[in-house]
């Protein structure tokens, strides 16, 4: 049994004139130590899935099981990095992290908490900023504090909701490198939402492609076959990179709107594709004209990726 197993997850919100089903029949799994990214258009339900995994929101039906136990509420076993960093503005960097550490280990003394916090402050490269308030930090630094806070409680799984969405490209790159380094060192299991295709290729072992809502589903799972020791600087020298990237962009631009529940995709067992490996290209032809609602083909020319 995989570390995290999501089965037949469905979420409907009450709306005027009946309920709106955001997603239905979501199935995927995450192995221990695996880094999984999910990409999909705005509003398809990524945050909702993450909130269910965090235990902050309840699914309408279906289950998520982590480490043999069903997720029924928030838990210290899962660390969350929120989209808007969610630091407490009245606490310093050190105290924000200490607040989490104290929650995790209530019987630790002050010195122990402090040394533990310091380790994670150093890890994200914020040494020297311990006493600063969040308002005195840049956006990138705040996001790092959020990451340090989530790592500091040493959770079994880390949930990240577009952690770098609000950052400029340069800062984003630096923190991506840092995250990659930390994750490789700690073998942390991670589930992360992103809009940035390059970020997904750099970080993820597995990329879940989510179709547009309502009634969104996991259309396919891309197995990232680039070598694990890839870096932001060398990965685009790898011919696999362009194949994976094209595949992801193609999905976001054209194919994401063609999948709906009840289509030919099998949501119970999403197709695993390895576009990086030559010859193993899409099981479905780009454009997928054989399925979905034809009127969608011309509509919606949204921008696919939000990388600056």
């Amino acid at each position: 049994m995989p570390f995290l197993q999501v089965q037949e997850l469905k979420k409907a919100f009450p709306a005027t004139g009946g309920a709106v089903t955001v997603f239905d029949n979501i199935n995927f799994s995450i192995e221990r130590g695996e880094f999984v990214c999910i990409i999909g258009h705005s509003g398809c339900g990524k945050t909702t899935i993450l909130n269910v995994l965090a235990g902050l929101d309840m699914a309408t039906s279906g289950v998520a099981v982590m480490d043999g136990r069903e997720i029924a509420g928030p838990s210290l076993e899962r660390g969350v990095v929120f989209q808007g960093h969610a630091l407490m503005p009245w606490l310093s960097v050190m105290k924000n992290i200490a607040f989490a550490v104290k929650s995790r280990w209530p019987d630790w003394d002050r010195d122990r908490i402090k040394t533990h916090c310091q380790r994670f402050i150093d890890l994200v490269g914020l040494t020297g900023a311990e006493a600063k308030k969040p308002s005195e930090l840049s956006g990138g630094m705040k996001q790092r504090v959020g990451i340090a806070r989530a790592f500091a409680i040493e959770p079994k799984m880390l949930l990240l909701d577009e952690p770098f969405g609000a950052l400029d490209a340069l800062t984003r790159g630096t923190i991506q490198d840092e995250l990659l380094r930390i994750v490789q060192a700690t073998h942390q299991t991670v589930f992360m939402i992103t809009h940035d295709v390059d970020e997904a290729i750099l970080l993820a072992d597995k990329i879940l492609l989510m179709s547009n809502g309502p009634n969104a589903l996991i259309a396919e799972i891309v197995d990232n076959t680039l070598p694990r020791n890839r870096t932001r600087h060398d990965m685009h020298h790898d011919p696999q990179y362009y194949r994976v990237r094209n595949y992801l962009v193609d999905f976001l631009v054209t194919r994401s709107k063609l999948f709906q529940s009840g289509g030919t995709a099998n949501p119970a067992q999403p197709l695993v594709v390895r576009p990086g490996l030559d010859g193993a290209l899409p099981a479905l032809p780009p454009g997928g004209a054989n399925q979905g609602d034809p009127q969608h083909l011309t509509a919606n020319h949204q921008s696919p990726s939000h990388n600056n």
């Binding site: 928030p74 969350v80 929120f82 989490a100 929650s103 308002s135």
Partner: protein, 280 residues
């Protein structure tokens, strides 16, 4: 930095100038009109209305004298109708302090409850809406009748006028704590008590302090009126008593003291407010 210092200096100069002009106008307006018209002067003498009559509107110099007199001996006590300004102020501040404290003890916990529970909010809302606009002085007869003690009635009136702004601001502050912070607390499995004191309280503190500042402003307005009404002691009674003595100099002095003390109270709470305010 230096421009800021220069601006401060400029505004201070302008303030002083304005004060001088005001005192000047006041001085000219209260000049004894003796030398001007001889006939009137004689008439005035005939009528026994000499220029030295103390019941007229005080001149700045007279006020200055009164200030020196009161400030040099603020705590004398010569019977119920003649106490030093310090003693009278002490009585008023004591009542305000006690009523205010009682209001905090009720309003902050109750505001927390209302802010956290939409059910309790809706249940209590009609009561708050009806009770809030009642002038605190309207409670005076009921307070006097039930409590039968003028001093405690004063405290009650302060309590009742301070409680509403604090209650409403606490409830609002608690209800509008950012969801993100509450979610952080939830994912960290923070206990309810710890959540209340370490997340909600600091998050809502600036709003709560704003409520307290409004309350204190109202309480200081109301105490003067309440003490005029029930008499006995306090700065309000002092004003009323000096009015009955036709000592307008002391009345003007008391007005000045009320203003200055009100300002100091506001500054104190303002400082506290700045202490708990955070930048998002």
């Amino acid at each position: 930095m230096s421009t800021r210092a220069r601006d401060l200096l400029r505004s201070a100069l302008l303030s002083s100038l304005l004060l001088l002009v005001l005192i000047g106008i006041w001085h000219i307006a209260t000049l004894p009109k003796v030398q001007a018209q001889g006939a009137d002067d004689e008439y005035a003498k005939l009528m026994g209305k000499g220029a030295s009559k103390s019941a007229g509107f005080p001149t700045p110099a007279q006020l200055g004298g009164a200030i020196i007199k009161h400030v040099s001996d603020p705590f004398y006590d010569k019977g119920p109708n003649d106490k030093g300004i310090g003693i009278q102020l002490g009585h008023s501040l004591g009542r305000v302090g006690l009523g205010f404290l009682l209001a905090i003890l009720l309003a902050v916990p109750l505001g927390f409850l209302i802010g956290m529970s939409p059910l309790i909010y809706r249940a209590l809302d009609p009561f708050i809406q009806v009770l809030k606009p009642i002038s605190p002085l309207a409670w005076m007869p009921i307070a006097l009748y039930t409590i039968k003690d003028s001093s405690i009635s004063g405290i009650f009136v302060i309590f009742i006028c301070s409680v509403w702004p604090m209650l409403i601001n606490t409830a609002y502050g608690v209800a509008s704590v950012r969801r993100e912070w509450l979610n952080v607390a939830r994912t960290l499995e923070v206990t309810p008590v710890r959540k209340a004191f370490q997340v909600i309280l600091p998050a809502a503190a600036p709003t709560i302090l704003t409520g307290m500042r409004i309350s204190m402003g109202i309480a200081w307005l109301v105490i003067v009126a309440a003490e005029m009404l029930v008499g006995g002691t306090g700065i309000g009674y002092f004003v009323w008593n000096e009015w009955n003595n036709l000592n307008l100099t002391n009345v003007v002095f008391a007005i000045l003291v009320i203003g200055v003390v009100g300002m100091i109270l506001d500054i104190i709470i303002g400082r506290l407010q700045r202490l708990v305010t955070y930048v998002e």
